[in-house]
Symmetry: C2
Subunit: 346 residues, 2 copies
């Protein structure tokens, strides 16, 4: 249907700027909320037909340039035998959090075909319905998965994760290696099932200093991107609060870096030496305001791209549950129209 999204990932010229939204298949859609009344979150992830249906919801409503498979960051951890429940409005609660090097030892690396078979089936179903629209697969990054495993519940600053890292550096690297291997297998399976691109969510890595990112995370991220390079699909690396980490994240080797809303897009792209495509970075809270506010913030972002190839429009984090879908529809069309005209201006 359109290759805008994939072309932009590789910084190739496009007719207009591609758009998709993190959590575009989620709680702000009434049709999704209706499903959630009957099924738990992980239940939806485990039913290929339902996961496929949800993935397609935003595609039916909006002119988005990509679909993203409906799954949960915790999905691959199920195959590692991690016991957890997802609490409404709280997030995943781990029954036995990782507290010692011994707990890391015990964690198995699952076989390729054991990781989220329902998600792979959902990808196959969705692919048959997309008429060529690209499908994005995704996974939590090793650090972010580790932070869930170590904290065991919601956290604002992930201090327990950092403390574990500083106290048990060897066990930490072992944990990261196991998670990296699992993520590589999970991502590989998604691409083999039909995903055209993948996003790695390192949502909470912004709690680290650059020095600690370098020592405790970067080697594993390099490994992850090296191992998934043969898949020949563009890979997006996204995190929040990453202003000081961007040059290091670039070294990890993804084709695209996702930016949260706190970094001005032009400065962030410059910090990345314009060597990768960038995705983002509208504050999701802006979508709760009037259209005039949405338009002003959107134009601010588009202007900062200076019309350069390699920008994928998105939010700076997931769409908020209170968002009005009609504003989302208008925003997609607006970005397409304005950037089409922008190209005329050049």
């Amino acid at each position: 249907m359109t290759d805008r999204f994939l072309r932009a990932c590789y910084r190739q010229e496009t007719d207009c700027t591609p758009v998709w939204f993190m959590r575009q298949a989620g709680r702000y859609l009434p049709e999704y909320r209706r499903l959630r009344e009957r099924y738990g979150l992980m239940e939806l992830c485990r039913h290929p037909e339902l996961a496929a249906e949800i993935t397609l919801m935003p595609v039916h409503r909006f002119a988005v340039d990509a679909a993203i498979i409906f799954a949960d960051l915790m999905t691959p951890l199920e195959a590692m035998g991690v016991d957890f429940e997802v609490q409404e409005g709280v997030g995943p609660i781990i029954v036995h959090p990782i507290r010692s090097p011994d707990d890391v030892q015990k964690l198995p690396v699952p076989d390729d075909d054991a990781i989220a078979p329902a998600t792979m089936q959902a990808i196959q179903i969705v692919k048959g319905e997309l008429n060529g629209l690209p499908l994005i697969g995704f996974a939590g990054a090793p650090f972010t998965l580790a932070s869930y495993l170590v904290e065991g519940g919601p956290s604002r600053d992930f201090a327990q994760t950092r403390a574990f890292m500083f106290r048990h550096p060897k066990a930490w690297h072992q944990l990261m290696a196991k998670l990296t291997e699992t993520v590589v297998r999970y991502i590989t399976a998604q691409v083999q099932a039909g995903a055209d691109a993948v996003q790695i969510f390192d949502s909470w890595v912004g709690c680290l200093s650059p020095t600690d990112y370098c020592e405790f995370v970067l080697p594993h991220m390099c490994q992850l991107f090296e191992r998934t390079a043969p898949l020949r699909v563009p890979r997006i690396l996204f995190g929040t609060g990453t202003a000081t980490l961007l040059p290091l994240m670039r070294q990890a080797g993804s084709e695209v870096i996702g930016l949260d809303w706190r970094v001005p897009l032009d400065e962030a792209w410059q910090a990345l030496d314009f060597a990768v495509a960038v995705q983002g970075n509208l504050d999701p809270a802006v979508l709760l305001a009037d259209w005039a506010v949405v338009e002003r913030h959107t134009m601010n972002i588009l202007r900062r791209t200076k019309g350069k190839a390699g920008h994928i429009f998105n939010l700076g984090h997931g769409i908020l549950p209170q968002t009005d879908p009609s504003i989302v529809a208008r925003l997609v069309d607006f970005v397409h129209e304005v950037t089409d005209r922008q190209r005329g201006w050049r």
Copy 2:
């Protein structure tokens, strides 16, 4: 006893680097936990003798170069008629959060002498015990107080606060003006009671983009620092996740900027044009590791100062409850010793 801390605030030479810790009077001290078994947090704040006793606990244990008055960020909001309870391990829960411009209208600005009289008495008691050691007063910054009022409970990303700001800019500015006036009066009263310096905690302002900080926060911060300048005490402005906000925070007009652990101290100081003193910025989670790790991270910070005058050693956020007080004692002495020697090297 020592004027190291105050001299460093003004970027004057000192015999060695001054040290204090955010939350140094808190839950990691067994003598504090014993008190907490008998009293609630806000109860302790309301008893001048107890608040004074807690303020002095770290001074009796460690060679810190300043005391900070024991109070809660929410303390001045009590005088604004805000009803809340502080939940153990969760934080303040507001009974009637601010949900509309009307709620802002109704919020009164309290008279000077109505704001936290117990804290002022505690300051007077502490001053009599400090033998000249400087006492730091403090307040939450208007944005951070507003974020508590709007969110009503714990939040990871403060999306409701940003949404309120975008939706109701007029009411937002009115709210910020009322909070600024309250904070100015609260700070003024603390200095009049005897505080030798003040720290403004804008703990959660890092959730804003620079553009939004400029529009929604900076004018009020300029006002705050202009109005408190005649007090002639050094003012420290601290926030977390502020990597992209530092040059704007400097414009607000404080003598010192507090840095969290995610910004390399030398780069941050440069972003501030070396025009203010800096405070920080050891990751509090480092204190949960072995001494060798603490020493390595501490040396990293001290090296980045290049021995320049105007560095106050501190953590990048509050001391964690699991911290061993004996590591804290060792760290204070270590910073004093090393920086004394460092001066010999120059």
